[in-house]
């Protein structure tokens, strides 16, 4: 009894510490976003503004040409398009790839998997120049398409690996049974394997969207105006002028976090369900 209570206290302390570490910067970001710029630059520092204001949010969300709101709103639009498209394409490709790596035999197949992971580990700096040259030659710079392709190359190894490790835990009887029942391989994956792997699929989608949403390096290099600039680049642009409005930047940061948070909220049920129990013995 005593031991279990101590254990509980430790667990809660740990969780509280983790929450503190993660939440403090966000909280500070929020405080900055509702402070006026004069407040942020006066000394001594004020922890809470005298007159909290949502002016920064208003100036970002109400569209007006040639203002920060234009680049911010276009950035959100571009990021949504690019992140969702890149996620969609890479998940669609990762499912058959992961199934093949997990289920089909062959030594060369396994080697290919390690090659994919090795490439994934290359630092972006190492490959950005040839990629830039290729995109330039194809006339794809400053388009959504360029970033979708590049992001797929980042997301695909990751999602494939994640799904493959999950498929590995599904007993092989469960893809043989549908074959016996008259399904072809694609139907077996669609009707049996994917529903069972739904939590992992949800996690893969989540992580892929987040990776694409947060990507900065390629976004910075391959885009140059509101037609394709992603939100991360748009926020950086706010700081790049001669006067950096920290309140505005903070508000943009908070707003940019909203779409992923909403996504996570809707997907959490998928993420935490354990479906594989009860199918086979044990």
């Amino acid at each position: 009894m005593q031991a279990s209570r101590n254990k509980k206290i430790c667990v809660y302390l740990g969780a509280a510490l983790l929450a503190l570490v993660i939440a403090t910067p966000v909280l500070w970001l929020f405080i900055m976003s509702i402070s006026s710029s004069t407040h942020l630059t006066t000394l001594p520092l004020q922890w809470w503004p005298d007159e909290p204001t949502f002016e920064n949010y208003r100036s970002l969300l109400i569209y007006a040409e040639n203002t920060p709101s234009q680049s911010f709103l276009y950035g959100i639009r571009n990021s949504v398009i690019i992140a969702l498209a890149a996620t969609g394409v890479s998940i669609a490709a990762a499912i058959p790839a992961a199934y093949s790596f997990s289920r089909l035999p062959g030594k060369r197949r396994k080697n290919l998997l390690y090659a994919v992971i090795a490439i994934f580990m290359l630092p972006p700096v190492a490959i950005v120049l040839p990629m830039y040259t290729i995109m330039n030659a194809l006339g794809l710079l400053n388009t959504h398409f360029a970033l979708i392709i590049v992001y797929c190359s980042i997301l695909l190894p990751f999602t494939t690996w994640l799904l493959k490790s999950n498929f590995d835990t599904i007993p092989s009887d469960l893809d043989e049974a549908p074959i016996i029942d008259g399904a072809n391989r694609v139907q077996a994956i669609w009707y049996v394997i994917l529903p069972i792997a739904r939590p992992a699929l949800g996690a893969a989608v989540m992580m892929a969207v987040l990776l694409a949403w947060d990507e900065f390096f390629y976004g910075l290099l391959f885009t140059n105006d509101i037609r394709a600039k992603t939100i991360t680049v748009a926020i950086a642009d706010l700081a790049a002028g001669r006067v950096a409005d920290y309140g505005l930047i903070s508000a943009a940061g908070i707003l940019a976090a909203v779409p992923p948070v909403v996504l996570a909220f809707f997907m959490q049920k998928t993420l935490v369900s354990g479906l594989a129990s009860g199918s086979v013995k044990g």
């Binding site: 009887d173 549908p178 074959i179 029942d181 049996v192 529903p195 479906l275 009860g278 199918s279 086979v280």
Partner: protein, 362 residues
Amino acid sequence: MASVSLSNVTKTFGTANIIKGVDLSVGDGELVVFVGPSGCGKSTLLRMISGLEEISGGEIHLGDRRVDHLPASDRDIAMVFQSYALYPHMTVAENIGFPLKMAGKSKREIADKTREIGDVLQLLPLFDRTPKQLSGGQRQRVAIGRALARDPKIILLDEPLSNLDAALRVDMRMELARLHRELGATMIYVTHDQVEAMTMADRIVVLRDGVVEQVGSPLDLYRHPVNQFVAGFIGSPKMNFWSARSDADGRLVLPAGMALSLPGALDPDQAVTVGVRPEHFVLATDDASAVLRGNVLSVEHLGSDTFVQLDCGFGDPGQIDINVRLAGIVPVRIGDGVSLSVAAVENWHLFDADGVRLDISK
């Protein structure tokens, strides 16, 4: 329903020969059981018939159609997996209806057929549950229901009862036997449990190291095993074996000193292995009929039977040489000296140095 025939079917994994040329035919509506020790290739052979495993050589026919080149989904075969392999995200009804859905049947047809099967297997009250809400026996019935859904030509069962507890296993065994009678389906059943094999099979196929050792009815295998392996594998407790020689007249010299004349079986001075089933011994009424003498090492009284373990001095002292199953309650005690005889000449089994049966002419 259809017959199955295998001719010279082989399977190799790399350099390992798993199935070494199996010829077998299973008649329409027959229930054939594959038995053998683990690793003998019985499950592999079943998977080759199902199409889940490709064959390396030979031919497989279902009815008059050659199927070894067809994918599993086109062979019109159903299979019950050892693990049940139920779809965890589907209800019982959806599980049973899945093969029909894959066959492109209408919703109505699926519902009707599913209900019909649910009725036969008493699954109707469970139709809306998912597999994890079911007990082992219920899951087993759902797996069988799914196999029956498409009215398949052949039903393959891969150790379907091995995950159930003993009592349930007996029930399900009887249920499967009943289904087989009612449906008249051709069934191939893999098990390592020879009681299942003996009680359910029309014919038993005994496999060892990828080779069919013997095919025959349960009692045929029990009475006339073709070699020492089959003799030892079929029957429980297993057959007793000991080494012996024949004398100059071709008579079998028994440990108790007596020489037994088994007409036509033995050459003079031939080394043989003698086999007698535990239940074929009786206590010798007089010294002249005794074939074996030994000291009792242990006694188990089951009421209906008495199991006695004897040290007959074949090996080290204190080693169990012979198991005996005597009918009823027999008053023997540990340490007693016991003489045994064998009632009938057909209860003797003789095997040559290669383990092949030597026929005893009547």
